[in-house]
């Protein structure tokens, strides 16, 4: 008789490692498989981790885990060719439910270490080729010549989840449901970063950009401060590439050249260039989350939320890994691995913030398809703000008049009001 694991988890990102950790802690026999030379080697993020879901599983994880900086400054910036108009919130109150900037090579390696220390077996450098099926049920995985069996397989193989596709849970990803993210990690001395962003100790800044950085294409820019580097990048909806002449690789460099970005990265050194797909379709792209013998978690299940001013994925991934572990532990206790029994996974997600938040923002992706947000409105805000602050000796206009004139020029009052109402309703 072949060795049979309680569970095999494919992919050692946050969802996979946490699932392995939670099950191993309960004494289950689990195998965590990773195709990279080490966990983290294939993973990247913008990136920021909202800490709440991991803190619940590993209290005060941030004391041990290789997180970069605790975010105490949040900025959202409208960018035009010559201007940057920002909402800038610096507050100690963000510490009540902290978020952390992270770099995934180190962070994911640490998470997988926690799973290994809890008793999980970690196999790195192994690519899973196929799911093993018996009587319509998933019973294991195959890698090359090796077949490995388990009562349950958890697909934590990321946004491109070939396993979810092979199991028939998911079709091809649609260009409108995913966005391409590119990032440069730019090395700078710790002190320089703290001075430029008005930070101290291990506090950090997060900034999202809308407008010129994507040349009006659906998407945006991001900047996160790490301890000794800045993560700077762009995210653009994949559907846009069919109709544009811009290459994302070139837009990235144009973004770096913007007069409001240049001083922030001056004298920095690019030490890595990475890219990743982001599942942004939200609630409407979510596949069935399980079938007989298989659960899908994290990015593989499309558990990401982008509201424009906030991007979340890792906190969902971690909670989904925990929920999957609960379902497998329950199934083992009852010695029942049927789809019905495993559907506790879905119930757990439904009763948590994961599916509730995705449902709340169900219409956000559709709202974001409005190109005026990425082209017109940054210009509208720029014109209003320049008029507000400029003194040039010509007779001044009452504020209401100049503002109204701007709105009229940039699409009309009715259009702006309609878009604002849609935004309020979907966010």
């Amino acid at each position: 008789m072949e060795e049979r694991f309680d569970a095999i988890i494919v992919g050692a990102g946050p969802a996979g490692s946490i699932a392995a950790y939670c099950m191993a802690k309960e004494g289950l026999d689990v195998l965590l498989i990773e195709r990279g030379t080490a966990p983290g080697a294939k993973n990247m993020t913008g990136g920021r981790l909202y800490g709440h879901s991991l803190d619940k599983i590993i209290p005060n994880f941030w004391k041990e885990a290789p997180v970069e900086r605790r975010v105490t400054r949040e900025m959202v910036t409208f960018l035009t060719g010559e201007s940057a108009i920002s909402l800038d919130v610096k507050s100690e109150k963000f510490n009540d439910s902290p978020s952390y900037t992270v770099l995934r090579a180190d962070f994911d390696a640490w998470l997988a270490d926690q799973a290994e220390e809890a008793g999980a077996m970690v196999a790195s450098g192994v690519l899973v080729d196929e799911l093993l099926m018996e009587d319509g049920k998933v019973v294991g995985v195959r890698s090359g010549e090796d077949e490995m069996y388990a009562n349950v397989v958890i697909a934590a193989d990321g946004v491109n989840s070939l396993l979810a596709q092979k199991a028939g849970l998911r079709g091809e990803l649609l260009p409108k449901h995913v966005a391409t993210g590119v990032k440069e990690v730019i090395e700078l001395p710790r002190k320089v970063i703290e001075e430029r962003f008005n930070l101290s100790g291990d506090t950090g800044a997060a900034q999202l950009f809308v407008g010129e950085c994507t040349q009006g294409l659906q998407g945006g820019g991001f900047l996160y401060t790490n301890k000794e580097s800045i993560s700077l990048g762009l995210v653009i909806t994949a559907e846009e590439f069919a109709h544009t002449e811009y290459r994302i690789a070139d837009l990235m460099e144009e973004f770096k050249m913007h007069p409001s970005i240049q001083p922030l990265i001056k004298d920095g050194k690019v030490v890595e260039y990475s890219a990743h797909l982001v599942p942004e379709g939200g609630w409407n792209m979510m596949p069935p989350l399980l079938t007989d013998g298989l659960l899908i978690v994290g990015d593989a299940a499309g558990l990401v939320l982008n509201t424009g001013y906030m991007v979340r994925g890792m906190d969902f991934a971690i909670a989904s890994g925990e929920a999957a572990a609960k379902a497998v532990i329950n199934a083992k206790n009852k010695e029942d691995y049927t789809k019905q029994r495993l559907s506790l996974y879905k119930e757990e997600l439904e009763n948590s913030f994961v599916l509730q938040d995705l449902k709340t923002y169900e219409n956000a992706p559709e709202f974001m398809e409005n190109h005026r947000i990425f082209g017109h409105y940054p210009k509208l805000v720029e014109e209003m703000m320049i008029n507000l602050f400029r003194v040039d000796g010509t007779p001044a206009q009452p504020l209401r008049k100049s503002m109204l004139a701007t709105v009229k020029r940039q699409g009309g009052i009715l259009q702006v009001a309609k878009d604002a109402w849609k935004g309020v309703r979907s966010l």
């Binding site: 990279g36 690519l127 946004v159 995913v178 994949a238 004298d267």
Partner: protein, 93 residues
């Protein structure tokens, strides 16, 4: 800070290229029928180079994001992960 070419940027990364197996392969007959060639604009590593009515492609330098697989709506490419341990290796991520 000045602009970097794609080659300069990819040069900062660690790659262990699989010399034997290409994890992405193109069907030139299908590429020839594709007008927009979204892969050219979408590939963060700029690996798809327009050439006459097809595209030239080299999988070395691939960041394994999967964008090409999604934007190739004519299904002219076959996409898989590189074999275990091979491909890009992020040191920061």
């Amino acid at each position: 800070m000045k602009k970097l070419s794609i080659e300069e940027r990819l040069g900062t990364n660690k790659f262990v290229v699989d010399d034997d197996v290409a994890h992405i392969t193109l069907d030139k007959n299908i590429c020839a029928k594709c007008e927009n060639k979204p892969c050219v604009k979408a590939c963060p590593a700029g690996l798809y180079i327009p050439h006459e009515d097809v595209v030239n492609f080299d999988y070395a330098g691939c960041l394994e994001c999967g964008t090409c697989r999604v934007v190739c709506v004519l299904k002219g490419l076959k996409w898989d992960y590189p074999r275990g341990t091979l491909g890009v290796e992020f040191r920061y991520g």
